[in-house]
Amino acid sequence: MNLFLIAVGAALINNYVLTQFLGMCPFFGVSKRMNTALGMGLSVLFVMTFASAITHLFYHFVLIPLGMAYLQTVAFILIIASVVQFVEVYMKKTFRALYAALGVYLPMITTNCVIFGVTLINIGNDYTLLETIVNSVSAGAGFLLALILLTAVREKYDNHPDVPPIFRGFPLALFAAGLMSIAFMGFRGLI
């Protein structure tokens, strides 16, 4: 039950993109075309799950016993960068089709704050390994969902003749995200 609450909370109620403002750069940067949005969303989901699990183990079995918890920023960033590298190499060898689809987005993920943010939140909330994995998968799914929704709106309205020129592009995306954020606030009634 607790795991279910964490999953619903991370994906919908406290959606990391729409209510906590993590991962804004890819959210607005790659939401112009649906296929790039899908590629980015899936890469984030993939890397976030691995990175969270590894940072969790590293924090509890290396940093804490050594009394070096203050190094978590440096350590986590390095772990995320190496996970991204590893995933990239592994994918290139085994899943060629997936690599072709996600390849260009993987390096960008190193500096994606949603990954780093979620690893920090997992530690801050004292989640167990299982809870960490559930939270990360749901957070990634929530990111994917929000990205797909925003992309659908932007594809439809960015070149619509009724939209005034000063409103096109960024302002339109921001207002669409704001309205989506209001809608996601409605999920609070779920729990």
Partner: protein, 202 residues
């Protein structure tokens, strides 16, 4: 003279928030009040200036292939310093509000773009001036959004009550959607001024 120009460039012509549209996560998340906005802006500026100075000093020693990793380490080091200093000297309420956005300065796009495009190619003083300009430009952007949201959402500016009647407060402005709407409106106004002036700029 040259340095003043570099600083002004960061604040106005290449303002990271309104012109380059980068570093949106902290911009949207911490602007619920003007005080939070300025605190985060200045801590980012501090990290940016220190990191740019160090990278600029080491630019001939860092091999090109591992420069990103080196930049990450340098930035993460300074962020850890700022984080520990803030925990020690600032009131807990501010630390609680800024929360994970202090460690998240590490993955701030402004910091990386300045290290990569300016500090790794220039000498120390211009790099510091450029970093200071960009940092202040970022702080200015945070301040504008923060003041608008705080005024509309809780009727105060920098904590001073201006609208005392609670029914005139628009709660939505300090909640998540208000951040998107405020930034959207500010950029729209900027676009409008741009089209009025030059016509071609968007």
């Amino acid at each position: 003279m040259k340095y003043a120009k570099l600083i002004r460039n960061g604040i106005i012509h290449e303002n990271p928030v309104f012109v380059q549209l980068v570093a949106l996560c902290p911009l949207l998340a911490v602007t619920t009040s003007a005080v939070n906005a300025v605190t985060l802006g200045l801590s980012t500026t501090a990290v940016l200036v220190c990191a740019c100075v160090v990278v600029s000093l080491l630019r001939k020693l860092i091999p090109n292939e591992i420069r990103i990793a080196a930049f990450v380490l340098i930035v993460a080091g300074f962020v850890t310093i700022v984080q520990l200093l803030m925990e020690a000297y600032l009131p807990p309420s501010i630390n609680e509000m800024l929360g994970i956005f202090i460690p998240l300065i590490v993955v701030n796009c402004i910091v990386f773009s300045r290290l990569e495009s300016f500090a790794s190619k220039n000498t120390v003083l211009p790099s510091a001036a450029d970093a200071l300009g960009m940092g202040l430009g970022f702080t200015l952007g945070l301040l504008i959004v923060g003041v608008i949201r705080e005024f509309l959402g809780s009727g105060s500016v920098f904590g001073f009550e201006l609208l005392t009647d609670p029914s005139s407060h628009m709660l939505i402005m300090i909640l998540a959607p208000g951040a998107f709407f405020t930034l959207g409106t500010v950029i729209m106004v900027k676009n409008y001024i741009g089209t009025r002036r030059g016509g071609s700029r968007r």
